[in-house]
């Protein structure tokens, strides 16, 4: 029996523009590409996959898939899976795994945030303070692991007690789509919004500012180089934008005329000139020159919601 191969780049495929009807789900799921290889392997076919997560703490490494029919976990890197959630949680849009205690899990769903403290065996709603249900993403603060952020339809929500209660942050615009925390200066937060581009905060969300450029479109994805010196953002008919000053100003890097929307951005941690983007309906695109030129890099027709690398 060959040992499972965990290292690689993972892509979450939500749907594919190729499929028609319920029977056409075979080209969706969680895909992995071994670095240096061009082939994507589907680790969980037939599963609408908005997101993923990794747990690398402790003895057991675990791979999570946020799926249309629940939160899936694999402890053997995709060979076998178990759905952890039941009927109450419906679709799972994102997962956040506590970096120190991997038994603590958070998921965001169209009907709010749910939390498990026993590795997914039991779940409870963690929505006190929310005014709306739909939560696209939930993320754990990189320093304070009881602090979390959740992107709601009407506001960005934050908790400082592990999800017991939440407070709406005054970003000033509704439709928060994605949240980014600077990898070095953790007080810097950026959000992508439905119709108001990017907003940024330099005080961990107490106050929010409007940047120069990229202030009036739909932004679904924000990512940065490992040192945070370059931040990238993209969304609906935006192409790819870059900020070299921690989100204060943005310049257009790639028009991406052939792509309707960028869902996901990945910058290789060891080579920041190597980037991938996930698109809606055009699969994955790849750049090796810091985002100036791109080529299609597999999963044609796929709606790729998230791209991550492990380890």
């Amino acid at each position: 029996m060959p040992q499972p191969q965990p290292a690689g780049i993972y892509a979450a495929v939500y749907i594919t523009s190729e499929s028609t009807g319920v029977g056409g789900l075979s080209k969706i799921g969680l895909f992995r590409r071994i670095e240096g290889d061009s082939a994507w392997v589907n680790l969980r076919p037939n599963t609408i996959t908005p997101g993923m997560g990794f747990s690398n703490n402790g003895v057991r490494q675990q791979l999570y898939l946020a799926g249309g029919n629940g939160l899936h976990r694999s402890t053997d890197w995709g060979a076998t899976w178990k759905v952890l959630t039941g009927w109450q949680t419906k679709e799972v849009l994102s997962v956040a795994i506590h970096p120190v205690n991997p038994g603590i899990l958070y998921i965001s769903t169209p009907f709010g945030v749910f939390k498990s403290e026993d590795g997914g065996a039991q779940w409870r709603e963690a929505m006190k303070g929310f005014r709306t249900w739909y939560v696209r993403q939930v993320k754990i603060d990189a320093d304070q692991h009881d602090w979390l952020y959740a992107t709601g339809e009407d506001a960005l929500y934050a908790t400082r007690d592990g999800g017991e209660s939440w407070t709406a942050m005054s970003v000033g615009v509704p439709g928060i789509k994605t949240l980014f925390q600077h990898p070095v200066d953790r007080n810097i937060l950026l959000v992508g919004t439905e119709d108001h581009g990017v907003r940024y905060s330099v005080d961990r969300g107490k106050t929010w500012l409007v940047p120069e450029g990229l202030a009036s479109s739909a932004v679904y994805a924000i990512a940065s180089t490992r040192d945070g010196s370059q931040i990238y953002a993209g969304g609906f008919r935006t192409g790819l934008w870059r900020s070299g000053d921690r989100g204060r100003s943005w310049t257009h890097v790639w028009p991406a005329d052939e792509i309707e929307a960028i869902y996901a951005i990945f910058v290789h941690p060891k080579n920041s000139a190597h980037m991938l983007v996930g698109t809606n309906g055009k699969g994955v695109f790849d750049s090796v020159d810091g985002g100036y030129t791109w080529r299609q890099a597999g999963l044609p027709f796929a709606h790729v919601k998230e791209i991550q690398r492990y380890p």
Partner: protein, 611 residues
């Protein structure tokens, strides 16, 4: 309740019971066919099985029919073998229909097929889906599969959960669905298409649930689903407003999958749908009623009577619920108010309007008895938007409309025949309906369409402004308050108005209600509805031919003879054939002096007569 171990036949042992069953069945068929001149349920179900057993179409239902009748059995087993390991199919439709077929025929199967069917629940992803009907099919399949293989660990299941975990989850959700459906209603209510995704799972659950309470609930849900159809049923047609339907079925009501269910359980229409090429069920749901024909469930006589007795016209109202709202709303399941007027000749029915279901809503129509297809008339605003879809689907609203267009080919089409629109509202009183349109500037399509069948016997545009139609014994008077044109199409005239603020008034009559068509016309042309537009307000006022005054303000009040209509007074079901209070979980079916009470609070039914 426990999970029971299934029995298994062997390949050698299977032949004997198969032959026995087939011979018994054929003998029964001969007796039934010769003994009745009037079609009975027993006769219809055997006829359906016989026809389905001759089908070459690959489906679990035809496999079950062929296998149990001993007709072309070897081909049936090849079909089942192919279906059980075809990786191109899976999901919730597969989940319930595979286990349904398997449990019906397992005593006749060779060992190899037992293994393949079992493996399907390990290897195939039984995707749960995202709609009410998906979940009913998924959890019914999971419940019965977990019951059938009760001791397996997570590695034997596609989702990694053990048999007991899957069983418990499925049971919990099914019980929750029974409660919701019997207290605030279905979200996918009264659908001529999707009824065929709710009834068959409940049939196999009724037939094979080992737990007596679950079996009881399944039977009660079948009563409720079929009674809900019966209230608005007319000669095979599913009348009234529908949560979801396909354009082909909306403009040709007897083409819908519900027709075959009506034929099987209500005995109407009198013709067998598969023999009528113009009404032939399309692929979708074509042979699902085989599970009804095989089932031990029997529709209570009171529901058959409710479905077929149209001697006295009646008003029937219902409260349903909007599908789960995930964004842009402050209620997860706002109420839907439904009004139907049913006679021996037609059903005029409506939902109160607005966005109640994404994509496939059918807000109002009159459907009339006819020996010709396309026996309906309605109007709609062909609306689409990312906001509408994002209310119900988690994808980004910027491109949801295009995504949905790939699956439901006509979603953005300006000529589509199904639509929910925030710019359309109705007000119905008996056989008269006012429909108001206030199309906002940001709506993508700024016109209103109406469907007039070319099969109408008469369609006259009168100088008075009324369009007067006759179809058999049904009369229709249609009045547009603003300009319109008629566009000829293949099977219909498309009434189209480019006036964004418009209203239509429709009154329906019949030989029974009005005498001659001439008398009906004379009554109607004397009436003059009024559209009053003042600032942001759009109001329609009309006095019907029976003297009722209706006044209707868009997004405002509905007033009937000086009294404001208060939707808060709507009950869960209310009419001569049913009554139920919202949230009670108790539905009383009524016919003559007979009563049947469905009490979902304690899974009980009670039949009695009143003095």
């Amino acid at each position: 309740m426990g999970i029971q171990q299934s029995g298994r036949g062997t390949s050698m042992g299977a032949l004997s019971p198969m032959k026995t069953f087939a011979l018994t069945f054929m003998a029964t068929l001969i007796i039934v066919s010769s003994g009745f001149s009037q079609s009975s349920f027993e006769e219809r179900r055997l006829r359906l099985l016989k026809v389905a057993s001759g089908e070459r179409e690959r489906s679990f239902q035809t496999v079950a029919a062929k296998t149990l009748l001993g007709a072309d059995t070897s081909y049936a087993l090849v079909m089942l073998d192919s279906l059980s390991h075809d990786e191109a199919i899976g999901g919730m439709f597969y989940s319930y229909s595979l286990i349904g077929c398997y449990l019906h025929v397992r005593h006749l199967l060779p060992d190899s097929l037992h293994r393949k069917v079992r493996d399907a629940y390990r290897l195939r992803t039984m995707y749960r889906g995202d709609t009410e009907n998906h979940w009913v099919m998924y959890y019914t399949g999971l419940y019965l599969a977990a019951q059938t293989w009760p001791s397996d660990g997570g590695r034997q299941w596609f989702n990694g959960k053990s048999s007991s975990e899957n069983f418990r989850e499925a049971e919990e959700w099914l019980r929750t669905w029974f409660t919701i459906s019997s207290t605030i209603g279905q979200g996918e209510f009264d659908s001529p298409t999707y009824i065929t995704t709710f009834v068959p799972p409940m049939l196999v659950l009724y037939d094979f649930a080992a737990d007596s309470t679950m079996k009881k609930y399944a039977g009660m849900m079948l009563d409720l689903l079929l009674a809900d159809f019966a209230f608005e049923h007319l000669k095979g047609n599913y009348g009234g407003g529908h949560s979801r339907d396909y354009p082909e079925d909306i403009i040709n009501p007897l083409a819908a999958p519900s027709t075959l269910w009506a034929w099987l359980y209500f005995g109407e229409p009198e013709f067998a749908p598969w023999n009528e090429t113009r009404y032939r069920p399309r692929h979708r749901g074509g042979w699902d009623p085989v599970y009804g024909a095989l089932s031990t469930y029997r529709l209570p006589e009171i529901i058959v009577n409710i479905a077929t007795d149209r001697a006295t016209p009646y008003v029937h109202t219902e409260t349903k619920r909007v599908r789960n709202v995930i964004r842009f709303g402050d209620q997860k399941n706002p109420p839907v108010f439904k009004y139907s007027y049913v006679t021996q000749d037609y059903v005029l029915g409506s939902l109160h309007g607005g966005i109640l279901q994404p994509i496939q809503q059918h807000t109002w129509d009159v459907t009339y008895v006819s020996d010709k297809p396309n026996n309906t008339l309605f109007t709609l605003h062909p609306y689409y938007s990312g906001e509408e879809l994002a209310m119900f689907f988690p994808e980004e609203k910027k491109f949801l409309a295009d995504e949905v267009d790939r699956y439901h080919k006509v979603y953005t089409n300006p000529n589509k025949w199904n639509s929910s629109s925030p710019d359309e509202q109705t007000f119905q009183h008996r056989n008269a309906i006012l429909v108001l349109y206030d199309i906002k500037p940001d709506s993508k399509h700024k016109h209103i369409d109406g469907f007039f069948s070319k099969n109408l016997d008469v369609m006259n545009q009168d100088r008075s402004g009324w369009i007067l139609c006759k179809a058999g014994d049904t009369y229709i008077a249609f009045y547009s308050l603003r300009n319109f044109k008629l566009i000829e199409e293949e099977v219909n005239w498309r009434w189209r108005s480019h006036e964004p603020r418009n209203g239509v008034v429709v009154e329906i009559g019949s030989r029974a209600e009005d005498g001659s068509f001439e008398r009906f016309q004379n009554r109607m042309v004397a009436l003059k509805p009024a559209l009053i537009i003042s600032g942001h307000s759009v109001m329609l006022r009309h006095k019907t031919r029976f003297g009722d005054t209706m006044e209707f303000v868009f997004d405002g009040r509905r007033i009937l003879n000086g009294k404001i209509i208060d939707f808060k007074e709507y009950r869960f079901f209310n009419g001569p054939f049913a009554e139920s209070d919202l949230g009670s979980g108790i539905i009383t079916l009524k016919y003559g002096n007979t009563r049947r009470v469905l009490n979902f609070n304690d899974a009980s039914t009670r039949d009695y007569t009143v003095e």
